[in-house]
Symmetry: C2
Subunit: 704 residues, 2 copies
Amino acid sequence: MKNTFLVALLLTASLPAAAQNAAPLTARLDKVSLTFALSPEGRPTYAVQFGSKPVLNPSRLGLELADGKGFEGPLEVTGSDTKSVDESWNPVWGEVKTIRNHYQQLTVHLRQPQAPGRRLDVVFRVFADGVGFRYEVPQQPGLSYFTVQQELTEFNLPANHKAFWIPGDYDSNEYSYTTSRLSEVDTTPIEAIQQKAAPNRIQTPLMLKSDDGLYVNIHEAALVNYPAMFLNVDTKTYGLRSQLVPGATGAAAFLQAPEHTPWRTIVVSDKAPEVLTSKLILNLNEPTKFPTTDWIKPQKFVGVWWEMHVNKASWNYADTSNIKLAGTDWNRLKPNGRHGANTANVKRYIDFAAQHGLQSVLVEGWNVGWEDWANNWKEEVFDFVTPYPDFNVTELQQYAASKGVQLMMHHETSSSVTNYERRQDAAYRFMKQHGYAAVKTGYVGRIIPRGEHHDGQWMVNHFNRTAALLGQNQLMVDMHESVRPTGLHRTYPNWLASEAARGNEFNAWSTGNLPEHETILPFTRLMGGPMDYTPGIFQIKLESWNPAQNKGRQVHTTLAKQLALYVTMYSPVQMAADLPEAYEQHLDAFQFIKDVAVDWDDTRVLLAEPGEYITTARKAKGREDWFVGSITDENPRQQTVKLDFLTPGRQYEATIYADGKGASWDKNPQAYQIRKQKVNSKSTLKLQLAAGGGAAISLKPIGR
Amino acid sequence: MKNTFLVALLLTASLPAAAQNAAPLTARLDKVSLTFALSPEGRPTYAVQFGSKPVLNPSRLGLELADGKGFEGPLEVTGSDTKSVDESWNPVWGEVKTIRNHYQQLTVHLRQPQAPGRRLDVVFRVFADGVGFRYEVPQQPGLSYFTVQQELTEFNLPANHKAFWIPGDYDSNEYSYTTSRLSEVDTTPIEAIQQKAAPNRIQTPLMLKSDDGLYVNIHEAALVNYPAMFLNVDTKTYGLRSQLVPGATGAAAFLQAPEHTPWRTIVVSDKAPEVLTSKLILNLNEPTKFPTTDWIKPQKFVGVWWEMHVNKASWNYADTSNIKLAGTDWNRLKPNGRHGANTANVKRYIDFAAQHGLQSVLVEGWNVGWEDWANNWKEEVFDFVTPYPDFNVTELQQYAASKGVQLMMHHETSSSVTNYERRQDAAYRFMKQHGYAAVKTGYVGRIIPRGEHHDGQWMVNHFNRTAALLGQNQLMVDMHESVRPTGLHRTYPNWLASEAARGNEFNAWSTGNLPEHETILPFTRLMGGPMDYTPGIFQIKLESWNPAQNKGRQVHTTLAKQLALYVTMYSPVQMAADLPEAYEQHLDAFQFIKDVAVDWDDTRVLLAEPGEYITTARKAKGREDWFVGSITDENPRQQTVKLDFLTPGRQYEATIYADGKGASWDKNPQAYQIRKQKVNSKSTLKLQLAAGGGAAISLKPIGR
């Protein structure tokens, strides 16, 4: 491919100046190489190879500005710089203790040949596992404020790869993945969650697999002051064209020089596990500026939450609708008798968390406004400081403190973000006053400011500003329905997790998630950062909670797989999502949730294939304990796990939580078996995973 | 007219049920009568008469909802109620001590004949000086949340009246008035300030005069949770059709039942002064809910302001552009040496205010961000708490307090309202900490949230919420570039004034205001509430301040007229807008500004004709002093003022500030004469007003 490209350039040697100064520029690290060149028309392009295999054919670069004097091309190359970096850094929390940041940088300086001669830089960083690049608009006379109408970046794939994709909905990522060839991408038959923009528009992180054995992931890093990038698929040429999420007026981004775009990232390997362990996206994010981080605590939590999803309780206190936040006397509402967030019930969760060593208790539905919070595009929906009459803030604060448990705040915004922003100061003061250390936020529904989207520049700024503001207050956050992450948890380590994908909750009230879902998420959504997937459902057939309303509903999993997810689905904040009474029936299996770490010194992805299986081993932070999770899709599967990551010469007790005989996600999901055996670094374990099943292993050193 | 209407109804007696139940309903008070009827098509209509003269021919009523199941008609009348009210109330501050609220109310209950039988009420209040009506959507099954796409209200004028109008710009009222027949309304030749929506679209308050001697004013009262109403003029039929200002998505208002629209108001009289003294709009607003109001102080102020308008100083500290609020080290910027809001200069204003008994000193440009604050649609523009390096907050707080003077805060938002809302809590805490009691706000430029307009529902809610929030903090406000007022200062008496029209400032840097401008404003903009017009310019030819930049510029006034404006242009907060050094050259004339009251027991409009002249007398609150202002347009004019409003039998000293011999706004604007004479209630004064001139009189009782 590279040869073809050079030939093309030779053929254009007699073209005008703009093209003549376009000698190709290259950068390489290990097997990954990057080539920049101007096209015959003077358009900047780049291409990527992995060894001798093309990853991206020459693909267009450029920015279209609203004033029509942007960087569509033709452009001139006025110079270039290179830099080599090899350093390492330690994340506040993460999958590994130390991260190596090793890249070759190529900066290409471009100029409009026409007046006013505006300047644009493209900065490439070539890593051993891929490429990141971004546009930088330097400070310059005549270009201070500018509006990006659209970005012209392309990712031209050389062949009709297999793709794992979700439809391009500017307001939701909560879709099941479709696995298809690029030529078959068509979102038409997929039911919209908010609004799909076009039949061939899909989201990133996009996972691709080529027939010649390359695993390619396309996403972005450090999404700051810019909309999310979607991708328009050309089903004939296999080209992907970037599509920035528009704001209310149609333009994509309002910017001020000097400014840069997020990094566009291409992770590539011939081994699927290496995609999962790539730190390319984290490396392209800025280090945190927080002066201290010792108040940030990875943690496990239970919560008054799943009982609402399974129709055992309600978020709302009364069953009326048409409530106005101002002027309602909440004490005079008739309680429906099903309100989950009542003082007694919350105490039950606090007791359970204290008994089992879980750090926190989330309570949803504690604050007034849930009677008609959703789907009304209502601005004055919640105030974030007024509890329902049956939720005693002070009593619970004292009770939780006496048990050594933290309450986790919940702020559902109903996407009325202007309302939330006006109240954030007061809401966070309330949290500090009442001993809350973390908040789970939610953004269900259509955004206010009306016309804006979850994934547009205005909301991206909101999410980042919220993380920063919470950080100033030494508060942690878990954002639901946010824009999908792009590694910003490096910059804001209090931003423990996001949802921003189809979580376990869908199993409670929709068609649910296919058994393959959790084998795809780490290759897609989790490439950008941790997900609060809410694993740990033990009562898999939901009818037992409420036969009338949950008839036929179940989670598409075995019980053992739910345990494995605590390892395969990385997050520093993990919910034990089921009800205490569900866990109390299976305390032997619950032991794994009690034991499993949420912060790690090391991570090894042992086996992985998107859409099929993942087996991951992780070493607990500061301890010698290892935990292994192994999951499969709808197919039963035997996985052979070599324990060569264990410290040589050391004996470990392995506790293996496996699918029971005859287990399967649909017929017999709760069958599990627990066995213990002594192992060492030379041991090999054979795990028999049921259909839709999994296995979890804890490995604790013996003696010492 | 009424007869014609009844005949029409008789002719339709054989129409379907929806029309048959349409027996006309009427209400009347003194000369004003209102008739409601269903049209032959079942559309609700209303008509207004004044004595035997038609004010409005039958005009359509209705609301169009976004779901297509609204109140366009046909509708059925399901009943009606009447009520008679005669009461009085005392405003916290105002033009009179006591206001009579006397009206006949007619409520018409309407129902959609089709499913789902939605209900709508129209409530009319008929006063002696006009009619107000509004739509009320009662609480009802099947209609909780609804979106108003457009309002169908019409005002069908019976003839081709003379109209005083400004173009329909959803983001600005700062236009000169055009006086034309309705048939001649055409905004095309008028230069847009932000964006004119349509050639025949104009704003309210709209002042009209009929050939048969009626003065009619159309506006609205209590604009709450709804967009402003504009008017589309049918230049052939003289019909006006309401046009609600759209939000970012095109819809006008997002509402929740029970809810009502603002009142649509028609003030009518055969005497122009009675339009100016009408309290109809105030009466249609809600009383304040503030628990105390003694902290609200009508006041006069000077400010670091006009010196920027006349190019003697700058708002900005440095002459750089392209500043980012975050990350700029303001101490390292190179000062331009012209920054007005520096500590020494502010002290000079404090000294002047203290010396002359003015309550407050406004300081604009005190806070960082002015280097490139305007026209960039920039969100992070000001933080409202960080002073420039040369503005010492604490020192000035102490200095002002030692002199018995208040500093007035300034918050220019640059229309980045999301930014302001996020920072309001902190900004108002800063004000309280530093002894500020009032704030002047500004909304120059395009609104953020992008796509919203100054006059749309979202911004209306912002302005009202801001008044309420400031009220909770016992802070007063003077809003510039807000939506034009609709009497909400009754509900929020801390909302002392707004600009929301073309103020005196335009004389400093544009074609300025025609001499007639101030004779129209009380009939238009001021119908809704007080205006911070910033009168009191003594140095009328502006070249003296900065010959290079102000060449040929002047205020279109005489000096005496500037004094008269303190009486003719009602506001409880009045600026002495010129520079201290201007006043120090004319301290004899400045005495009137020192003396004139800003709160009143009584007001008499003695002479008035829109576009020509106004003479108003007001009695100072709690005192026997009266003040008279008399102004004319570009024509010199003698006005005969009978002093029969004075207490009979009492002697007064009149100090008359009149245009000097040979005075005229263009040739000799600063010529004035001051004379004193003894007068009583039987006296008559002849005032000789120069072209573009005026006269001011203070009347103080002698002896006692």
